[in-house]
Amino acid sequence: MDHDGCVTCSDAGIPVRVISVEGDDALCEDAADNRARIAVELVAPVRAGEILLTHGGVAIGRVAAEAEEDLR
């Protein structure tokens, strides 16, 4: 997946969009249109279209829809 940080800690947390859910995994797409299977047990249930924060192939959180408001 597309990131410019170190996978060993935390700044490689990558926001991805869920394309489809396949059991405990989901096919997800990052900002550079890379697709990968992500384990989603830790944020289940997930739906197509949701934005997840992933780390090392595992989703560890959700990105809130109102994120842009944080900037204002």
Partner: protein, 375 residues
């Protein structure tokens, strides 16, 4: 992509920087520590330090797991990797961390079967594909990474995969922060809290920092505007005399954290009584080991690692840099004997290490000009 580009808007960044400058007391020196190595990386990669008033000093904290790993744990990992029956798997950064007799990359060159993986789930896949070999995953990282290891072990147990084990070096963020706050040689005004660790543990664990030590905290994301906004939040707290935990990264960090991830970790791990940190020494209850229910997957038990302690090279001042006592360029071997190509200390290895960030993003030359001009 949304949630990335908006947080790199130069015009907004200048506006936030101006707001910070407007409430900065010209007669005061502010020391803010960014706990997480990811923040250090962002600060230098995007030149954030240059947007801040000179009164604000950013001090780099101990939040890079590669950097705080003591040499003895590297040596023990290498000993496991050298066993002929083992396929040893680890993240890329771990390959170059120096042990007392070399690093994993050198051991791989000598014939050991060491494979770089992106995820612990990749290591588990290798175990499935190689049932006649023993696959060991070198687990490292704070609470951001620990849930991935926990989930992987839960899957391994569920599938009954017996040729898979984990050499667990996971650490926790709160005990070293408390150790820093108790350190007599470091005066800090406020903390930029780690964003993705907090995605898992939430913001509540930091409440002792304002309550017991009187230090404001702003949990922050990793884009340039995240860092600037968190600095503004901390400066407002200091300006208004407030002292609390604030969540700048609320688009990702729930106040209570990720309860599913915490439950998973609670099942798979338990706290070690103590663990050695590079530069900080032994800290009680600061690291994780596999719980009794997962003892069959514990590489420390499977290979009877002795728990050796190895001192850092004498020339290396990683400890002082990790505690924020020295800036990276003030280390006696920075940029000379110790470079990203030939690191002596772990802080020069990881892209999140303060020394690597200084070296790669040009702080070395700038800082040295400044020092020269003062003399």
């Amino acid at each position: 992509m949304k949630y990335v580009s908006e947080f790199r808007d130069a015009e907004l960044a200048r506006a936030v920087a101006a707001a910070i400058a407007s409430i900065t007391d010209p007669d005061r020196h502010y020391k803010l520590m960014e706990v997480c190595g990811g923040h250090t990386h962002t600060i230098y990669r995007h030149g954030i330090k240059d947007l801040l008033p000179e009164q604000i000093e950013l001090v780099h904290g101990p939040g890079c797991p590669v950097c705080v790993l003591p040499m003895g744990r590297v040596d023990e990992g290498i000993e496991i990797a050298e066993r002929p029956e083992v396929i040893f798997t680890c993240f890329g950064d771990m390959m170059r961390v120096p042990g007392s007799k070399g690093n994993l990359l050198e051991v791989k060159a000598q014939g050991a079967d060491i494979r770089m993986v992106y995820s612990p789930l990749d290591a588990l896949r290798i175990a499935r594909e190689n049932p006649d070999r023993e696959v060991v995953f070198y687990a490292i990282g704070f609470e951001t990474t620990a849930p991935s290891t926990a989930l992987t072990l839960q899957r391994a147990k569920k599938e009954g995969i017996e040729n898979f084990s984990v050499f667990c070096n996971h650490v926790t963020i709160v005990p070293p922060v408390r150790a820093l706050l108790d350190s007599p040689d470091l005066r800090l005004d406020a903390f930029i809290g780690p964003g993705h660790v907090s995605t898992v543990i939430g913001c509540r664990p930091y409440e002792f920092m304002p309550e017991d030590y009187g230090k404001p905290v702003a949990v922050a994301g990793f884009e340039p505007l995240d860092i600037l906004q968190s600095v503004l939040m901390l400066m407002r707290q200091l300006d208004e005399g407030r002292c609390e935990v604030e969540n700048q990264y609320s688009r990702v960090v729930p106040w209570e954290g990720n309860l599913q991830a915490l439950r998973s970790m609670a099942e798979v791990f338990e706290l070690r009584p103590y663990f050695e940190w590079r530069g900080l020494g032994f800290i009680a209850q600061s690291a994780l080991k596999l719980s009794g229910a997962y003892a069959d997957f514990d590489a420390e038990l499977r290979y009877s690692t002795p728990g050796v302690r190895v001192a850092d090279p004498k020339a290396c001042q990683c400890g002082e840099v990790l505690k924020g006592v020295l800036k990276p360029h003030e280390c006696r071997v920075f940029g000379t004997a110790c470079t990203p190509d030939h690191p002596l200390g772990a802080l020069m290895v990881s892209s999140e290490g303060a020394c690597a960030a200084y070296f790669n993003f040009g702080r070395k030359s700038l800082e040295k000009v400044e020092i020269g001009s003062k003399q």
